[in-house]
Amino acid sequence: MNKQPKAVALISGGLDSMLAVKVLQEQGVHVEGINFYTGFCVEGHTHAIRKTDQKKEKRNNALWVAEQLGIKLHIIDVIEEYKEVLTNPQHGYGANLNPCLDCKSFMVKKAREWMDENAFDFIFTGEVIGQRPMSQRKDTMPVVAKQCGDERLLRPLCAKLLPATLPEREGWVDREKLYGFNGRSRKPQIALATQFGFDEYAQPAGGCCFLTDQAYSVKLGDLWRQRGSKNYDLDDIMLLKVGRHIRPRDHFKVIIGREEGENNFMNGYRKQFTHMHATSHNGPLALIDGNASRDDLELAAQLVARFTQGRDADTVQIEVNEKGNETPFTLDVTPLHNDDIPREWYL
């Protein structure tokens, strides 16, 4: 190849993909980044919701990494296509509802499509053998690579431990200048980061997906069970990230804001849900997900009252706005005592 080779990197925003890009830039490869947004990414939106987190720097690590490395970054919305990956993973789930192997295969396949559409030569990732229990094992790496086809998937950080790929065989990159990292230790990556002069980087290989989170997976599993199918839309999975989720009855649950930022965020969903808040005391906004009868709403109001400043009062006034009904009504309720809320109601 006489022209400069062009490669597209899967950028998560973590250290490994940052290092992989730098390794190839050092070899004169033109690199652009690609980042897939599934809706479950911890990156981005999550820090915008909670008021307490709003003081933290609101940095999208993938964008930050791209800027540090001087590469373009293409962020691709794969929310719809990802549903099939999550709901029907060929290789199953990990410890929680994380379909890591199918997920990585899907992303590599999508990156390959992008590569072909944009006339790039190969794809690369920051994967390291043994780094992840499901998707980054020596026996599963070929499964992912198969999605790319014709050996155009390079893993610069562990390439020396894998068969030579097309970019290496064609001399687009020098295999001798690639690495043979292996295992869960982060020391080789941190040493390489130091060598490259990276004095700041995101949590090494930090968890970047809500699906690896146990509490989140429990709530998602509950949503699927109650619906009788694994359907979801973006609003569903966003709302699983905020509030206390309490299911007093099979047919409805109550989502109660935990602080001002969550209440503000949930406020945007007012028109889609029956919702309630206290008028006699300060307290959170609560959304009712499901078909709640008047008796159910009374129970929900007692529950919500428990989380107001009137939790010890005899009576708390709760204004209820039923979905599709513009006229609210008020319930005077006695807050539930903590002992009256079974632990299994909490999701």
């Binding site: 980042n35 947004y37 990414c41 990156e43 981005g44 939106h45 820090h47 915008a48 919701i49 709003q54 720097e57 609101k58 940095r59 999208n60 993938a62 964008l63 930050w64 791209a66 800027e67 001087g70 590469i71 373009k72 970054l73 293409h74 962020i75 691709i76 919305d77 966003m238 945007g268």
Partner: protein, 76 residues
């Protein structure tokens, strides 16, 4: 030079960036895109995306809870 407006209210990052990126693909160099957002994260993410992709931030204004980011489309 045209001016276009993108309503990215209630969208959480990185969706405002993705929507801006996709809209800019339909615009010409020199056009102005006005992105209206409510996620404070957009104040950092949209400019960062513009910097690395060769677009210019003309202004960022906050009106009540809305953030209005004006982008001058650059490109090759």
């Amino acid at each position: 030079m045209a001016t276009d407006t993108l309503d990215a209210r209630r969208l959480l990052c990185p969706m405002p960036v993705i929507r801006a990126q996709n809209r800019i693909k339909t615009l010409a160099k020199g056009d102005i895109l006005e992105v209206i957002c409510t996620d404070p994260g957009a104040k950092n993410d949209v400019p960062a995306w513009c910097r690395i992709n060769g677009h210019e931030i003309v202004s960022i204004e906050t009106q009540n809870d809305e953030i209005i980011i004006k982008i001058a489309v650059g490109g090759e």
